[in-house]
Amino acid sequence: MRYHYFPGCTLKGQAKNMESTTMAAAAALGIELVELEEWQCCGAVYPLYEDELITLLSPVRTLAAAKGEPLVSLCAACHHVLKRAQELMQRNEEARKKVTDYLEVDYAGEGRVLHFLEVLRDDLGFDKLAEMVKKPLEGRKVAAYYGCLLLRPSKVMQFDDPENPTIMEDLLKAIGADVVKSPYRTECCGAYLSVTEEAVAEDTVTRIIDSARNAGAEALITACPLCRYNLENCASEDGKEPIKVYYFSELLAEAMGLQFDQLMTSALERRRSSDGNK
């Protein structure tokens, strides 16, 4: 299984370990993720006004670069922007014409745009994944935190049931963890409000973490670097039992039996080989 891979800005910065753990786990699962050449930031938020065409240039350039072949991203925000930009290109002919003329590319909304979790569920299959697990996470009580961007708007994202999703819990089951369901798993973490209105983000993430803790979770998984930042940095946690926050890929890599030093080595090797190519 071979896919184009779009990393996005944060996967090369604050969320490097999401990329390195995914790459290691994907290799162990026989999934090849080939990084797009000369990619650029997706823009992080999807423009909600249809005359904001300039902010679509970057995601449409990425979509066109995949040449209609499956395109995978890991960051929930990147996936959201790419998927919605694709939908706009399919639906709005005027916008498509303006954007593709400006970029001088030929793109009409074709190709599968996937989050890596969808590759695991739909292309590999969680049953198959469960068979390939080397070190099941037995006895680890983990809750899934979905946030907003993978689920909503569900008509466009078509990722899972927006009110009662199961994909992350199914992943946790496949890697042998004890799944904890928490009522606030699809609530917003406050997103970029942690930049301008930290008190609001404190309120939202404290509710999310308290709800997971009360449900018995010792850890949370997320697919979004900004959710993770907010969960780790904005909650009011005085004297409470700490909750560890992971990228889903960290637990996946652990269940595949990949040790931290192996992950570092594979990341270094990749860097060396890409340096060698220059």
Partner: protein, 131 residues
Amino acid sequence: MATSNKTRLVDEMKMQSGQDPNECYQCAKCSAACPVTAAMDLLPHQVIRYLQLGFEEDLAKSNTPWICASCFTCAARCPRDLDLARMMEGIRLVMLRRREGNKFGPADLTPEQLEKLPQQALVSGFRKYNK
């Protein structure tokens, strides 16, 4: 409360977002669903009511569109299939597109924030609060 003409903001909004605030029947499910109402001076369904009445300048003074984090829960729960997140974006853009309309930019960040915040937070913040 100033009554202003309802043409500009609402007409532009209908065209650019495909959302007609007049289709809302004020059930307030959006306000029940919104996770950040505690910090808002107008509840989400009140914003739609103000749009229906054309209270453009009152909306311009409200903090609600700037507290909205575009989580799309309001739109997911709306029984009229209206996308309030798009309407909030419309109010923000009307303000941002005015001269000196930017709300937040790189100069407003502290060195500690620059060090710590993920790139995604910075890019989204600038996109939402700056033109």
